[in-house]
Structure formats: C-alpha cells, structure tokens
C-alpha cells in the first residue's frame, strides 16, 4: 500500500515538473496530493488526509487552475525565451539547479540511511481522533491558530489589492482568490 502511494506521489511530482503544459502540472500535482493523503491515512491521520484533499486539492489547486486558465498560460521555451538576453545565465542556472537537487536528494538519503536510519515500525499509539487534535489545537496552539487567521486576512486583502486592475473594480482572479483563501480556515473549522 505504502509503495503504491509513494510511487504515485513521486512519479506524479516528477511529471509535474516535467510537464510543459501547466494545466497538466496542476492536475498531476492534485494526483500526488491524493497519494499523499493516502499516506496520511496509512499514518493513522485520516483527518489530515481529508483536510489535505479539502484544502490543497479542493482550494489551493483550484486557485492555481483558475489562474492558469485565466492567463491561458503560454507553453514554455517560445522563441522569445531562446533569444532572451539572459539565455545563457538561465540555462546555466537550470543545469546547476538540477545538479543541486540531485546532490540534495543524495545527501538527504545518505544522511537518513547511513546509520540505518529510524528503523522499526511505529511503536507508540496513534492519535487519530479528531477530538484530541481539536482540543490540542484550541488549547496549546490557540495563539498560533489565531495568528494564522490574521495571516489569512492579510493574504486575502493583499491578493485583492495586487490582482486588481488599475482603476476599475478588482479583476476576476482577485474575486476568485477570496473564496479559495477563506477556505483554509473553513477547512480547519470543520473539525470543531
């Protein structure tokens, strides 16, 4: 089961960054999120799994999808990219980035595996009851919770301001940014 989800997640993520068409990237990312939520279920965190779907797949990704459709995003590597003055720098940065990512994964895996890593199955009992999580969230983490709500508010306002067309009332994306944004607290409110 784990292998299935993990495989899906990795392959989907790889395809996300391999895709030329942003729409597909978004959809594949959703797929990978689905796999991740499956992993959360395996980790006895069904609540997180559901929230993952609701917030990430249901809200954030929709927002991405909207923007992609709205801008009708051009596929990459058009001529103007080629003869872009910074073509060399960019491709250099690209290659370098790829290498670095490779180095990072090697390093991380090595770091995790060189001492045999955290072997053994999970010993402790899982905390999967929503009630427990909610209690913790609203007692110990009450302050951070409120702060995040503030963060959301700020983000909402700034999104509206940023995406508004000069002069006229705020443009469609801003208008659409609102619902997706406020969804995040709605998702976390759902578990009270």
């Amino acid at each position: 089961m784990f292998d299935l989800f993990a495989g899906v997640a990795v392959i989907a993520s790889l395809l996300v960054i391999a895709q030329r068409n942003p729409i597909y990237s978004v959809l594949l990312l959703i797929a990978s999120f689905g796999a991740l939520s499956g992993l959360y279920v395996l980790l006895d965190a069904p609540f997180v799994a559901v929230i993952q779907i609701i917030v990430y797949a249901g809200a954030i990704m929709v927002l991405f999808l909207f923007v992609v459709m709205l801008l009708n995003a051009p596929h990459e590597m058009t001529e103007e990219d080629i003869e872009h003055p910074l073509a060399i720098v960019r491709s250099g940065a690209t290659r370098l980035g790829g290498l670095l990512a490779l180095a990072l994964v090697v390093e991380l895996v090595w770091a995790l595996t060189r001492h045999g890593g955290e072997s053994g199955v999970f010993g402790n009992a899982a905390v999967s009851s929503v009630a427990a999580i909610g209690r913790l969230l609203f007692t110990e983490y009450a302050f951070p919770f409120e702060v995040t709500s503030l963060l959301i508010l700020v983000a909402m306002v700034s999104a509206v301001i940023l995406a508004r067309r000069e002069g006229g009332p705020d443009a469609a994306p801003a208008g659409l940014a609102e619902p997706d944004l406020s969804r995040a607290p709605a998702g976390t409110e759902g578990d009270r």
Binding site: S13, L14, V16, I17, Q19, P22, S25, L29, S32, F33, L39, L43, A45, V48, I51, Q52, Y56, F64, V68, L71, A73, P74, E76, E80, D81, L86, R90, T94, L100, A101, L102, L104, V105, L108, G117, E118, G120, F122, N124, A126, V127, A132, I133, Y141, P144, T148, L151, A155, S158, A159, V160, L162, A163, P173, A174, A177, D180, L181, R183, A184
Partner: protein, 100 residues
C-alpha cells in the same frame, strides 16, 4: 510495514523534486507548484514523526503549514497575474529589471 525511515526518504525525494522544479522550470506557476510540492514533503515528515512519537502535534503543524501554503498561493498567484498583465510573460527571467 513501512518504517519511519521510508517516509522520511520519500519526503526527501519529494523535496528534492520540488527544488529541482524551482530551478528547472521557467514558468512562474510551475515554480509555485514546485514550492507546494516541497511544502507537502515537509508535511509528510511532520505527520510521520508525529505518528512515530505518538503525538498529535505533527498533524497540527500540518494545518498551519497548509494555511501558510494557502496564503502563499493566493498572494503569489495574485503577483503572477499582475506580472503577466505587465509583461505578457510568465518567465521569471523576463522580470530581471530590478537590478543595477
């Protein structure tokens, strides 16, 4: 039965994929997507550790991360839209005027 280490390795791989995406891709939206991948990799780590320690805190952190991700996505995309209106392009390298 997968061990904690498997989860950690998986999240490491995902994280690396995300970073690679940030560098390899030349489309702002895809770059944002890659960032989301990285965030999720981190989330996975949190949940896995929480599970291993038998504590709910890991899951709670995930909620906060998600909130941040939502905010980041909204603002980032708003910026992308503004930029696109300005330059008719999503290539981060075509926004290099902010220098000198």
């Amino acid at each position: 039965m997968p061990t904690l280490n498997d989860y950690l390795v998986l999240s490491a791989v995902l994280f690396a994929i995300g970073t690679a995406g940030v560098f390899v891709r030349k489309n702002l939206i895809t770059i944002l997507l890659s960032i989301e991948i990285m965030l999720n990799a981190v989330n996975l780590t949190f949940v896995a550790f929480g599970r291993a320690l038998g504590a709910a805190d890991g899951q709670i952190i995930v909620f906060f991360v998600m909130t941040v991700a939502a905010a980041e996505a909204a603002v980032g995309l708003a910026i992308v839209i503004a930029l696109y209106r300005h330059r008719e392009s999503l290539n981060p390298d075509s926004f290099t005027v902010l220098k000198w």
